[in-house]
Protein backbone atom coordinates (compact mmCIF):
# COMPACT_ATOMS: atom_id res chain seq x y z
CA UNK A 1 0.00 0.00 0.00
CA UNK A 2 1.51 3.29 -1.09
CA UNK A 3 0.96 6.42 0.90
CA UNK A 4 2.00 9.96 0.07
CA UNK A 5 2.92 11.96 3.14
CA UNK A 6 3.38 15.73 2.88
CA UNK A 7 6.75 17.04 4.07
CA UNK A 8 7.07 20.64 2.80
CA UNK A 9 10.60 21.07 4.08
CA UNK A 10 13.03 23.60 2.64
CA UNK A 11 16.37 22.19 1.53
CA UNK A 12 19.34 24.20 2.62
CA UNK A 13 22.79 23.13 1.76
CA UNK A 14 25.59 23.16 4.31
CA UNK A 15 26.89 26.25 2.53
CA UNK A 16 23.65 28.14 3.09
CA UNK A 17 23.78 27.39 6.80
CA UNK A 18 27.36 28.61 7.19
CA UNK A 19 26.65 31.68 5.05
CA UNK A 20 23.69 32.59 7.26
CA UNK A 21 25.97 32.30 10.30
CA UNK A 22 28.55 34.56 8.66
CA UNK A 23 25.93 37.10 7.62
CA UNK A 24 24.70 37.39 11.18
CA UNK A 25 28.26 37.77 12.50
CA UNK A 26 29.02 40.52 9.93
CA UNK A 27 25.79 42.28 10.83
CA UNK A 28 26.58 42.22 14.52
CA UNK A 29 30.03 43.66 13.92
CA UNK A 30 28.66 46.31 11.55
CA UNK A 31 30.97 45.21 8.71
CA UNK A 32 30.15 45.79 5.04
CA UNK A 33 31.05 42.70 3.01
CA UNK A 34 31.32 42.78 -0.78
CA UNK A 35 31.72 39.65 -2.92
CA UNK A 36 33.60 40.73 -6.06
CA UNK A 37 33.01 38.46 -9.05
CA UNK A 38 33.91 38.54 -12.72
CA UNK A 39 35.29 36.53 -15.59
CA UNK A 40 39.04 35.96 -15.37
CA UNK A 41 40.95 39.10 -16.39
CA UNK A 42 38.27 41.78 -15.95
CA UNK A 43 40.39 43.62 -13.40
CA UNK A 44 39.25 42.57 -9.91
CA UNK A 45 42.67 42.69 -8.32
CA UNK A 46 43.60 45.99 -9.99
CA UNK A 47 40.32 47.55 -8.81
CA UNK A 48 41.07 46.40 -5.27
CA UNK A 49 44.64 47.76 -5.48
CA UNK A 50 43.23 51.17 -6.41
CA UNK A 51 40.60 50.91 -3.70
CA UNK A 52 43.15 50.09 -1.02
CA UNK A 53 45.21 53.08 -2.12
CA UNK A 54 42.25 55.43 -1.80
CA UNK A 55 40.64 54.14 1.40
CA UNK A 56 43.31 52.57 3.60
CA UNK A 57 44.09 55.71 5.56
CA UNK A 58 40.45 56.45 6.32
CA UNK A 59 38.94 53.02 6.86
CA UNK A 60 39.99 49.58 8.04
CA UNK A 61 39.90 47.23 5.07
CA UNK A 62 40.20 43.47 5.06
CA UNK A 63 40.63 41.47 1.88
CA UNK A 64 40.29 37.79 1.08
CA UNK A 65 41.63 36.83 -2.35
CA UNK A 66 40.78 33.43 -3.79
CA UNK A 67 42.29 31.58 -6.73
CA UNK A 68 42.65 28.00 -7.89
CA UNK A 69 46.43 28.30 -7.75
CA UNK A 70 48.96 30.87 -6.50
CA UNK A 71 48.67 33.63 -3.92
CA UNK A 72 49.61 36.21 -6.54
CA UNK A 73 46.50 38.33 -6.04
CA UNK A 74 46.85 38.42 -2.26
CA UNK A 75 50.53 39.38 -2.68
CA UNK A 76 49.55 42.25 -4.98
CA UNK A 77 47.00 43.49 -2.45
CA UNK A 78 49.62 43.45 0.30
CA UNK A 79 52.05 45.38 -1.91
CA UNK A 80 49.29 47.91 -2.61
CA UNK A 81 49.08 48.59 1.11
CA UNK A 82 46.50 46.10 2.33
CA UNK A 83 47.22 45.37 5.98
CA UNK A 84 44.66 42.59 6.51
CA UNK A 85 44.91 40.27 3.51
CA UNK A 86 44.25 36.54 3.41
CA UNK A 87 44.77 34.30 0.37
CA UNK A 88 42.61 31.25 -0.32
CA UNK A 89 44.07 28.67 -2.67
CA UNK A 90 41.22 26.33 -3.60
CA UNK A 91 43.44 23.83 -5.34
CA UNK A 92 40.68 22.97 -7.78
CA UNK A 93 37.34 24.43 -6.71
CA UNK A 94 36.08 26.99 -9.23
CA UNK A 95 34.44 29.16 -6.58
CA UNK A 96 34.84 30.19 -2.98
CA UNK A 97 32.39 28.77 -0.48
CA UNK A 98 31.24 29.88 2.95
CA UNK A 99 33.32 27.28 4.73
CA UNK A 100 36.51 28.65 3.15
CA UNK A 101 35.55 32.19 4.20
CA UNK A 102 34.77 31.07 7.75
CA UNK A 103 38.18 29.45 8.00
CA UNK A 104 39.92 32.56 6.65
CA UNK A 105 38.19 34.74 9.20
CA UNK A 106 39.60 32.75 12.11
CA UNK A 107 42.75 34.84 11.94
CA UNK A 108 41.02 38.20 11.46
CA UNK A 109 39.77 40.35 14.35
CA UNK A 110 36.46 41.50 12.90
CA UNK A 111 36.17 44.22 15.55
CA UNK A 112 38.96 45.98 13.69
CA UNK A 113 37.34 45.87 10.23
CA UNK A 114 35.02 48.33 8.50
CA UNK A 115 34.86 46.80 5.02
CA UNK A 116 35.66 43.27 3.87
CA UNK A 117 36.26 42.57 0.19
CA UNK A 118 36.13 38.99 -1.01
CA UNK A 119 37.81 38.61 -4.38
CA UNK A 120 36.21 35.47 -5.76
CA UNK A 121 37.74 33.06 -8.26
CA UNK A 122 37.40 34.42 -11.81
CA UNK A 123 34.16 32.73 -12.88
CA UNK A 124 30.66 34.05 -13.55
CA UNK A 125 28.89 30.69 -13.20
CA UNK A 126 29.59 28.85 -9.97
CA UNK A 127 30.07 31.74 -7.54
CA UNK A 128 26.42 32.67 -8.20
CA UNK A 129 25.39 29.53 -6.36
CA UNK A 130 27.53 30.00 -3.26
CA UNK A 131 26.41 32.55 -0.73
CA UNK A 132 29.36 33.83 1.32
CA UNK A 133 27.31 35.87 3.77
CA UNK A 134 28.00 39.06 1.87
CA UNK A 135 25.92 42.26 1.80
CA UNK A 136 26.18 42.43 -1.97
CA UNK A 137 27.66 40.77 -5.00
CA UNK A 138 29.55 43.22 -7.18
CA UNK A 139 29.97 42.03 -10.77
CA UNK A 140 32.91 43.43 -12.67
CA UNK A 141 32.90 43.27 -16.46
CA UNK A 142 35.16 44.97 -18.95
CA UNK A 143 34.90 46.59 -22.35
CA UNK A 144 37.09 43.88 -23.86
CA UNK A 145 34.32 41.36 -23.24
CA UNK A 146 30.97 41.02 -25.04
CA UNK A 147 28.25 43.50 -24.13
CA UNK A 148 25.82 40.56 -24.02
CA UNK A 149 27.62 39.22 -20.95
CA UNK A 150 24.62 39.75 -18.64
CA UNK A 151 22.35 37.69 -20.93
CA UNK A 152 24.83 34.81 -20.93
CA UNK A 153 25.27 34.75 -17.15
CA UNK A 154 21.82 35.81 -15.97
CA UNK A 155 21.89 34.06 -12.60
CA UNK A 156 24.92 36.09 -11.55
CA UNK A 157 23.55 39.42 -12.81
CA UNK A 158 20.21 38.65 -11.15
CA UNK A 159 21.86 38.02 -7.80
CA UNK A 160 24.18 41.01 -8.05
CA UNK A 161 23.44 44.49 -6.77
CA UNK A 162 26.20 46.37 -8.57
CA UNK A 163 27.85 46.19 -11.99
CA UNK A 164 31.21 47.85 -12.52
CA UNK A 165 32.22 48.24 -16.15
CA UNK A 166 36.01 48.51 -16.35
CA UNK A 167 38.51 49.44 -19.06
CA UNK A 168 36.45 52.31 -20.49
CA UNK A 169 39.76 53.69 -21.74
CA UNK A 170 39.60 50.92 -24.35
CA UNK A 171 36.13 51.80 -25.68
CA UNK A 172 36.14 51.91 -29.44
CA UNK A 173 38.87 49.31 -29.79
CA UNK A 174 36.25 46.54 -29.82
CA UNK A 175 32.57 46.24 -30.67
CA UNK A 176 31.60 46.62 -27.03
CA UNK A 177 28.74 49.09 -26.70
CA UNK A 178 28.21 50.67 -23.27
CA UNK A 179 24.51 51.39 -23.75
CA UNK A 180 23.86 47.81 -24.89
CA UNK A 181 25.70 46.40 -21.92
CA UNK A 182 23.63 48.49 -19.50
CA UNK A 183 20.40 47.64 -21.29
CA UNK A 184 21.16 43.92 -21.26
CA UNK A 185 22.03 44.00 -17.58
CA UNK A 186 18.85 45.97 -16.74
CA UNK A 187 16.76 43.39 -18.58
CA UNK A 188 17.98 40.77 -16.13
CA UNK A 189 17.88 43.02 -13.08
CA UNK A 190 16.31 46.48 -13.16
CA UNK A 191 17.68 47.38 -9.74
CA UNK A 192 21.38 47.25 -10.64
CA UNK A 193 23.66 50.16 -9.77
CA UNK A 194 26.30 50.89 -12.42
CA UNK A 195 29.81 52.27 -12.30
CA UNK A 196 31.92 52.91 -15.39
CA UNK A 197 35.62 53.10 -14.69
CA UNK A 198 39.10 52.81 -15.99
CA UNK A 199 41.59 51.52 -13.46
CA UNK A 200 44.29 52.57 -15.88
CA UNK A 201 43.51 56.25 -16.28
CA UNK A 202 41.44 56.67 -13.12
CA UNK A 203 38.18 57.79 -14.71
CA UNK A 204 35.12 56.95 -12.62
CA UNK A 205 37.13 55.72 -9.65
CA UNK A 206 36.22 58.66 -7.41
CA UNK A 207 32.54 57.83 -7.82
CA UNK A 208 33.29 54.21 -6.87
CA UNK A 209 35.30 55.29 -3.80
CA UNK A 210 32.55 57.71 -2.85
CA UNK A 211 29.94 54.97 -2.97
CA UNK A 212 32.07 52.67 -0.81
CA UNK A 213 32.57 55.51 1.66
CA UNK A 214 28.84 56.08 1.94
CA UNK A 215 28.28 52.35 2.54
CA UNK A 216 30.78 52.34 5.41
CA UNK A 217 29.49 55.56 6.94
CA UNK A 218 25.90 54.28 6.81
CA UNK A 219 26.81 51.02 8.49
CA UNK A 220 27.22 52.96 11.72
CA UNK A 221 30.41 51.22 12.63
CA UNK A 222 32.40 54.42 12.79
Amino acid sequence: MTEKIPVNQKLLSENDLIAARLREKFRQKGIIVLNLVSSPGSGKTTLLEKTIGALKDKYRLALIAGDVQTENDADRLIRAGGSIVRPIVTGGACHLDARMIERSLESIDLDKVDLLFIENVGNLVCPAGFDLGENMKVVLMSTTEGDDKPLKYPAMFRKASVVVINKIDLLGLSDFDLASARRNAREINADLIFFEISCRDGRGLDTWFGWLTSLIEKSGNR
Binding site: M1, T2, I5, N8, S13, N15, V125, G129, R158, A190
Partner: protein
Protein backbone atom coordinates in the same frame (compact mmCIF):
# COMPACT_ATOMS: atom_id res chain seq x y z
CA UNK B 1 24.97 24.18 -9.07
CA UNK B 2 25.68 22.61 -5.72
CA UNK B 3 23.66 19.49 -6.45
CA UNK B 4 25.85 17.28 -4.29
CA UNK B 5 25.11 19.33 -1.17
CA UNK B 6 21.40 19.30 -1.95
CA UNK B 7 21.48 15.54 -2.58
CA UNK B 8 23.05 15.11 0.86
CA UNK B 9 20.30 17.20 2.45
CA UNK B 10 17.70 15.02 0.73
CA UNK B 11 19.40 11.85 1.94
CA UNK B 12 19.53 13.20 5.51
CA UNK B 13 15.83 14.04 5.40
CA UNK B 14 15.10 10.52 4.14
CA UNK B 15 17.19 9.01 6.94
CA UNK B 16 15.33 11.03 9.56
CA UNK B 17 11.88 10.19 8.19
CA UNK B 18 12.80 6.56 7.79
CA UNK B 19 13.69 6.42 11.48
CA UNK B 20 10.17 7.51 12.34
CA UNK B 21 8.51 4.77 10.34
CA UNK B 22 8.23 1.16 11.38
CA UNK B 23 7.97 -1.57 8.78
CA UNK B 24 7.60 0.86 5.95
CA UNK B 25 10.03 2.02 3.32
CA UNK B 26 10.36 5.22 1.40
CA UNK B 27 10.06 4.63 -2.32
CA UNK B 28 10.02 8.14 -3.72
CA UNK B 29 10.66 11.74 -2.75
CA UNK B 30 8.71 14.57 -4.36
CA UNK B 31 10.76 17.73 -4.88
CA UNK B 32 9.72 21.25 -5.87
CA UNK B 33 12.58 22.95 -7.65
CA UNK B 34 12.32 26.49 -8.96
CA UNK B 35 14.20 27.55 -12.06
CA UNK B 36 16.06 30.23 -10.07
CA UNK B 37 17.57 27.65 -7.74
CA UNK B 38 19.90 26.76 -10.63
CA UNK B 39 19.67 23.09 -9.78
CA UNK B 40 19.91 20.82 -12.83
CA UNK B 41 17.55 17.82 -12.51
CA UNK B 42 19.92 15.35 -14.13
CA UNK B 43 22.86 16.43 -12.00
CA UNK B 44 20.76 16.13 -8.87
CA UNK B 45 19.57 12.64 -9.78
CA UNK B 46 23.13 11.59 -10.53
CA UNK B 47 24.47 13.05 -7.29
CA UNK B 48 21.73 11.33 -5.31
CA UNK B 49 22.40 8.03 -7.04
CA UNK B 50 26.07 8.26 -6.19
CA UNK B 51 25.65 9.03 -2.50
CA UNK B 52 22.79 6.59 -1.88
CA UNK B 53 24.39 3.76 -3.86
CA UNK B 54 25.59 1.48 -1.07
CA UNK B 55 22.94 2.47 1.45
CA UNK B 56 19.50 1.07 2.25
CA UNK B 57 18.07 4.07 0.38
CA UNK B 58 19.49 3.17 -3.01
CA UNK B 59 16.79 3.09 -5.64
CA UNK B 60 14.56 5.78 -4.13
CA UNK B 61 13.02 7.79 -6.96
CA UNK B 62 13.21 11.56 -7.14
CA UNK B 63 10.00 13.06 -8.55
CA UNK B 64 10.86 16.60 -9.56
CA UNK B 65 8.29 19.32 -10.13
CA UNK B 66 10.01 22.25 -11.82
CA UNK B 67 8.50 25.60 -10.85
CA UNK B 68 8.76 28.30 -13.51
CA UNK B 69 9.60 31.87 -12.60
CA UNK B 70 6.52 33.95 -11.92
CA UNK B 71 6.69 37.69 -11.42
CA UNK B 72 4.17 40.29 -10.38
CA UNK B 73 4.51 43.83 -11.69
CA UNK B 74 4.72 46.44 -8.94
CA UNK B 75 3.42 49.07 -11.36
CA UNK B 76 0.39 47.48 -13.08
CA UNK B 77 -0.14 44.34 -10.98
CA UNK B 78 0.02 41.91 -13.91
CA UNK B 79 1.59 38.50 -13.36
CA UNK B 80 3.57 36.65 -15.99
CA UNK B 81 6.11 33.88 -16.32
CA UNK B 82 9.69 34.85 -17.01
CA UNK B 83 11.44 33.37 -20.01
CA UNK B 84 15.20 33.38 -20.32
CA UNK B 85 15.71 35.58 -17.26
CA UNK B 86 14.11 38.65 -18.84
CA UNK B 87 12.57 40.19 -15.76
CA UNK B 88 10.07 42.67 -17.09
CA UNK B 89 6.28 42.98 -17.06
CA UNK B 90 4.59 41.64 -20.20
CA UNK B 91 1.83 44.17 -19.68
CA UNK B 92 3.55 47.52 -19.22
CA UNK B 93 7.24 46.68 -19.73
CA UNK B 94 8.25 47.84 -16.26
CA UNK B 95 11.34 46.34 -14.64
CA UNK B 96 9.89 46.89 -11.16
CA UNK B 97 8.78 43.35 -10.49
CA UNK B 98 8.49 41.01 -7.54
CA UNK B 99 9.42 37.35 -7.91
CA UNK B 100 6.53 35.30 -6.52
CA UNK B 101 7.68 31.87 -7.65
CA UNK B 102 10.96 30.43 -8.84
CA UNK B 103 13.30 30.09 -5.88
CA UNK B 104 11.76 26.90 -4.49
CA UNK B 105 14.04 24.14 -3.31
CA UNK B 106 12.10 21.83 -1.07
CA UNK B 107 10.88 18.33 -0.33
CA UNK B 108 7.14 18.39 -1.02
CA UNK B 109 6.30 14.80 -0.04
CA UNK B 110 7.60 11.30 0.45
CA UNK B 111 5.96 8.14 -0.83
CA UNK B 112 5.82 5.32 1.67
CA UNK B 113 5.31 1.67 0.80
CA UNK B 114 4.06 -0.26 3.76
CA UNK B 115 2.87 -3.77 4.39
CA UNK B 116 1.30 -2.69 7.67
CA UNK B 117 -1.59 -0.27 8.33
CA UNK B 118 -0.04 1.37 11.39
CA UNK B 119 3.21 3.21 11.84
CA UNK B 120 5.17 4.45 14.85
CA UNK B 121 4.28 8.05 15.57
CA UNK B 122 7.20 10.49 15.58
CA UNK B 123 8.14 11.30 19.18
Amino acid sequence: MHELGIAESILNAIRLKSGELAGASITAVGLRIGVLSNIVDESLRFAFEVISKDTEFAGIKLDIENCPVLIECLDCGKRNTVVEYRFSCEGCGSGRVKVIQGYELEIAYMEIESGFPERRSPN
